[in-house]
Amino acid sequence: MQKIGVFVCHCGTNIAATVDVEAVAEAARHVPGVVYATDYTYMCSQSGQDLIKDAVKKYGLTGVVVCSCSPRMHEKTFRKAVDSVGMNPYLLEIANIREQCSWVHKDKEIGTKKAIALMKAAVAKAELDSPLTAGETPVVKRALVIGGGIAGMQTALDIADAGYDVDIVEKNPTIGGKMAQLDKTFPTLDCSSCIVTPKMVEVGQNEKIHIYSYSEVTNVSGFVGNFKVTIKRKARYVDETKCTGCGLCTEKCPMKKVPNEFNLGLNNRSAVYIPFAQAVPKVATIDPNYCLMLNKGVCGLCSKVCGAGAINYKDTDKEIEVEYGAIVAATGYEIMDVSKYDEYAYSQSPDVVTSLEYERLMNAAGPTGGELLRPSDHKRPKTIVFVQCVGSRECDSTRGGKPYCSKICCMYTAKHAMLTKDHYPDTDIYVFYIDVRTPGKNFDEFYRRAVEQYGVHYIKGAVGKVTPENGKLIVQASDLLMNEQLTIDADMVVLAAAIEPSHSARHLATMLTASMDTNDWFTEAHPKLRPVESPTAGVFLSGVCQGPKDIPETVAQAGAAASKVIGLLSKDKLAGNPCVAHSDEMMCTGCSQCADVCPYGAITYVDKEFRMRDRTTKVRRVAQVNPAVCQGCGACTVTCPSGAMDLNGFSNSEIMAEVDALCR
């Protein structure tokens, strides 16, 4: 006979205001199998836990039911409490009478009735609970960081600093990310590449860090502590180990009309290229879409001039498989395509640019050598109009609009305006804003400086239409404070285009079984208390892939993600989850349906000999579950047509008992 204790929590007034907790405890006393029931203000408090522990000892309880908040909140707490007095932690059940009862009901009578039903269901399950023991799995002491921008680099450096090996997978030929493309950073106006390139060198030289540049993750299997990751090393046609980065091949390459992605297509590069002078690794890459040798079989100049003999036209994509204990997503962002916003004439005039393009036009290493010249006629613009919130804060997504604020645009626009005024004080600058959002240390002061000291015209309003006409851009706009419609003859228009997640992020999230929100930003395990962890164990989030943020926030989050990874890698073994599936070989018909639905690849089939009644043997195909890989989702148990699959801790009979109790 089971001896079950029921403990009903008030949670202050969270539960007690809507549920008559005493009535629930009283009802529990009449449930067969329950030997003790009580209620208490805060079960999770130390004295509440002591109440449970004392009752376990005093009444020799064989099962405990706590009627309280969601098991996500305090299941661990209570399991630990019963464990400390010698009860198997898996003999504890939680009836969620807060989130699923008191918080969603207003009527106390109904709430109490439901709480009693939930309590009875939990008692019915507790009666069938059996003790479970968690297995242990070793932890691979190596981390993978996906993305080599400032987020990925900082995470990798911090993990390496703690003594663990880290690999960075970067899809581009060099690490550095967006920050390497920026000119200056707000609000201090220090040179972006002056602070990011030393970081890149540090990453490149760190013995603990290995960079897989020009590579992509193509498959992820396994689980926390034991991931198996397939990395595709795209054919670079240049031997990384031989190339010295001298750049002679890029000079001699006759194919020089390739849009330069580092300068956002504002100038051209050669078919064999090094993205920029400070690239890490400083190795050339041949662009297979443009190389004459690869496409037409004629040329071969780069191979002839290469003193190191690094060029290999026969290079192919290679896949390698590496094991990792933890994975960090640091996939960053892209600038939204604004060509659908016809009113701004982005596709009609080269003088309408995005802010990142403007960044390159101001950069000393950019296409104009740092001199601000407009793309159409290389003349210096005298009047520049900045348009805020292009594609951000929209509820209509037909043109690719985003419902969120991109967060960084207000600040970089103030920066652009001030830098432009600094270099060319006679420039007239208009900024059309909806709201100027500058929360951050020294941020508002920075924006005010643009207005007060530099005389940038901030206009509360919007641009309705940009018309290219006779080398000018006619900007029609509104000034809401003056209640006027304006027309400005501008030389350039700069669009603060929304930022969006890297286009590879969704595919990656699927491989990692990491969740995403509707905008394709990675979701954190808890929005406030676990901001750098994905809900998927062993997967962590660094930087903008989790949501828009600026550089200091990105670096802070990168460090936080690293510390979580270090915490995981410092463990030699991880306690597994004992609530895993197992199959009854006598009932299994070998139909394979469980293996088909298993999202973790935990089920395999083996041929097994069975001894029959007439003493003959028969070989049958039966399912076997790898308990280290199984995550206990239960998909197999509901799929199995013969009822052979069962889940520890959530067995078919336990679930049926719960349903019976609810229906009684």
Binding site: E343, C389, R393, E394, C395, D396, G401, I434, K460, G461, A462, V463, G464, K465, Q476, A477, S478, D479, L480, N483, Q485
Partner: protein, 130 residues
């Protein structure tokens, strides 16, 4: 005159199917409006006036007849507030209050034509009845 009549914001919302509370006051409607100079109240003001219940003033204003229904503001509006729809709703409200029902069901059969689309009937009821 229309000045004796007024409608509630709820009625305008029901006619237009637009929620002016979604407006974030960006001003793209006013920035793009080709009839701006003709108007006493401009598109962004329209939205604010409906939201704050100042509909009587709108109904008396000539602005509602200056709107060309070019729908440029609807095209630009990032919040699906669609000012032109609100303006149309106020215009309709004025018409309806002035004359009462222009169409009664009994008249429908004699006016029917074989190739008349059903949608026309529905919209005629919306426009010509209270």
């Amino acid at each position: 005159m229309a000045s004796n009549y007024t409608v509630t914001p709820e009625e305008i919302l029901a006619i237009s199917g637009v929620n002016p509370r979604r407006c974030m006051k960006c001003g793209r409607c006013t920035a793009t409006c080709p009839a701006f100079a003709e108007m006493e109240y401009h598109p962004h003001q329209f939205v604010a006036m409906v939201e704050s219940g100042r509909i009587g003033e709108l109904m008396n204003s000539r602005s509602i007849y200056r709107c060309l229904s070019c729908m440029a503001c609807i095209e630009r509006c990032p919040r699906q507030v669609d000012p032109a729809r609100l303006i149309e709703a106020v215009r309709l409200a004025v018409e309806r209050k002035q004359g009462g029902n222009h169409l009664i069901p009994d008249q429908v059969p004699e006016r029917l034509e074989p190739d008349m689309p059903q949608q026309l009937l529905v919209s005629a009821y919306r426009k010509y009845t209270k």
